[in-house]
């Protein structure tokens, strides 16, 4: 009924060495992750791969390993195709980490995972419960990458790097920003596809980060709404690195699998604007609530399936005028803004019907901001420049075009596009705008800085983060759904499963953790002696 939902955002950051485009991105990324981890180094907790099953498919079958592309085997870094199981032995782990840079993998006290994915440093936020917290821990990720960059620059012998929160190099490569939403497994996957495809096609009007260049390799000059749209080639599928699908079927809940599905959304852009990120998460969460309740069928957004979904995704992205008509399967033609209006209308009626006056502030905020940003985009696109990345970016680009008479293939405009998401305040153009008060901020910056070190209190991320903060040297490994202790007096490692994302909250375990001065005390308390 509400926007409250277990959610996490993963971002693969772009990484570069000025003047050396050939530098090895895996080593650079490992350097970044390890530099951030360095102060707490020594015996670092490793990632526990025990419950990872990236080849499990929401449609109900499991891909055979032999049929999978090596890049799909996310549970076996350094042993692609080997199907590594967690070896509960600390010395194995130490060996693996020194042998293979792709093992650079840290679990942070804020509950996040910071590691090397493919050829990028990736920040996977802790599980949060509200859209505002999704923004808060996503923004904390930007500060973590900035700190990592500073530490690399300050360490003699390391190669200074630049880091960008974007999704393409404009030359044919794309890297992802994924949203993860926990949802009810009982919801038929066909309904997920039917209702989310039109939603994802149309939400680009406020989730797009903006991009100079049309086509995967920017073959055509111009500007488009989304960094990612041109890299999507099919409607539904399991892949994430090639033939990318609008609906990704990876079904690896990191939670009790017979109750939950993790909806893995790969079609979004990395956004800097706090309002855009809030809306990306909040509106999607509301649509999922309606889906789970079966409340979309028969309503204003009951059947908006485009006749050609992939083409529609591209066309909407390529039209900053927002007048492009999407042809629907039933013959109607609608603009993306009209499609979003239909979802908003359905969501309003749904919240009014189910909650009425009891609707919570987070849900009301998302409804109000959703309506507000659609109205701005309908009346005068540039009036959304304080809330929406692509509009703010386009405003700068148009400023340059008119002042300096630049054409869309100008390198200067492409530089503006790239520098938009530079994480350094002295270089990043979004950060310059924020400093000048030209974008709308939702969060107290102090709360973002706090989120760098501290976990959300209302999900299991609290237990993970607090265990690392309090008993770090005794935590041998951890993952989304486990914390593993190596404690004195016990021969084997002690694995604490955390399969229920809403347990392990401060309310649930805060007092227990306060009572346990050591990891030994905690393990004893959990095992009843």
């Amino acid at each position: 009924m509400t926007v409250r939902r277990v959610t996490g955002l993963e971002t693969e950051y772009g990484i570069s060495v000025p003047g050396d485009p050939g530098a090895n991105p895996m080593l650079l990324s490992a350097q970044v992750v390890n530099a951030y981890a360095a102060p707490t180094s020594g015996a670092r907790p490793r990632w526990d791969y025990e419950d990872e099953a990236p080849l499990r498919d929401a449609r109900g079958f499991e891909l055979e390993r032999a049929k999978a592309h090596p890049s799909q085997l996310t549970d076996a870094p350094g042993r692609r195709g080997g199907g590594r199981r967690a070896a509960p032995n600390a010395s194995d782990v130490a060996t693996a980490e020194t042998e293979d840079p792709t093992m650079a993998n840290v679990i942070l006290t804020n509950g996040a995972r910071f590691y090397v994915d493919h050829a990028h440093p990736e920040y996977s936020s802790p599980e949060v419960l509200t859209p505002r917290d999704a923004v808060r821990w996503d923004k904390a990720g930007e500060l973590i990458l900035l700190e990592a960059l500073r530490r690399v620059a300050a360490t003699p012998g390391l190669t200074p790097v630049t880091i960008y929160k974007n999704n393409t190099d404009g030359k044919g490569a794309s890297y992802g920003t994924h949203e993860n939403y926990l949802m009810d497994r009982a919801t038929p996957f066909g309904d997920v596809v039917r209702h989310l495809v039109p939603f994802f096609v149309s939400r680009q009007v406020f989730t797009g980060a903006g991009r100079v260049g049309i086509g995967q390799d920017s073959a055509r000059a111009g500007f488009q709404l989304s960094q990612r749209a041109d890299f999507f080639e099919v409607e539904v599928g399991l892949e994430t690195t090639m033939k990318r699908p609008i609906i990704n079927t990876r079904d690896e809940p990191h939670a009790t699998a017979d109750r939950y599905r993790r909806l893995h959304v790969i079609v979004g852009d990395a956004t800097m604007c706090e309002v855009a990120t809030l809306l990306k998460v909040g509106t999607t969460s509301l649509v999922l609530a309606m889906l789970e309740a079966g409340a979309l069928a028969g309503g204003p957004a009951g059947d908006l399936t485009p006749a050609e979904p992939v083409r529609a995704l591209h066309e909407v992205s390529h039209d900053p005028g927002l007048t492009q008509l999407v042809r629907l399967r039933d013959g109607r033609r609608m603009t993306a803004l009209q499609m979003q209006r239909a979802y908003l209308e359905a969501a309003r009626a749904f919240v009014e019907d189910r909650l009425g006056a009891d609707a919570d502030a987070d849900t009301l905020e998302v409804l109000q901001r959703w309506e507000s940003v659609l109205t701005k985009l309908e009346t005068d696109v540039f009036s959304a420049a304080r809330q929406v990345d692509w509009v703010a970016k386009l405003r700068l680009l148009e400023g340059y075009r008119s002042r300096d008479g630049l054409a869309w293939d100008s390198a200067r405009l492409q530089a503006v596009d790239l520098q938009w998401s530079d994480v350094r305040p002295e270089k990043g153009l979004y950060l310059k705008l924020a400093e000048r008060g030209q974008v709308e901020l939702l969060l107290d910056p102090a709360s973002v800085r706090r989120a760098v070190e501290h976990p959300p209190e209302d999900t299991r991320a609290y237990f993970r983060g607090e265990c690392l903060a309090r008993y770090g040297p005794r935590v041998a490994a951890a993952s989304w759904d486990s914390v593993i202790f190596d404690v004195a007096g016990r021969g084997a490692l002690q694995r604490v499963p955390t399969l229920e994302p809403l347990r392990g909250t401060r309310e649930h375990v805060g007092a227990l953790l306060d009572r346990c001065a050591t990891a030994e005390d905690l393990v004893a308390a959990l095992t009843g002696g």
């Binding site: 693969e12 772009g14 570069s16 000025p18 003047g19 050396d20 485009p21 050939g22 991105p25 994915d117 493919h118 050829a119 990028h120 393409t168 190099d169 404009g170 030359k171 490569a173 794309s174 890297y175 992802g176 994924h178 055509r220 000059a221 111009g222 500007f223 488009q224 690195t241 039209d319 900053p320 005028g321 007048t323 492009q324 008509l325 033609r333 009346t379 005068d380 696109v381 540039f382 009036s383 420049a385 405003r395 700068l396 148009e398 400023g399 002042r403 869309w408 390198a411 200067r412 492409q414 530089a415 503006v416 790239l418 520098q419 270089k427 153009l429 310059k432 705008l433 000048r436 030209q438």
Partner: protein, 65 residues
């Protein structure tokens, strides 16, 4: 497609290869911020990589997820 183009500003048809539609009509709010944009551009000039071409050419990524 002809049905769609009627709805667009005519400027687009002339420049469609090069230029996306730039959302028309500056509202009062937009006009007020034009001076801000100019001041902002001056500030951005200071931080923008001085050799744009080399900077853009050098930004090469490997694909990810």
């Amino acid at each position: 497609m002809p049905g769609q183009e009627q709805q667009r500003p005519s400027r687009r048809e002339e420049e469609v290869e090069e230029t996306p539609v730039v959302p028309a009509q500056a509202s009062a709010e937009t006009t007020e911020t034009d001076a801000d944009v100019d001041a902002l551009l001056d500030e951005i000039d200071e931080v923008l990589e001085s050799n744009s071409e080399e900077f853009v050419r050098g930004f090469v990524q490997k694909g990810g997820q």
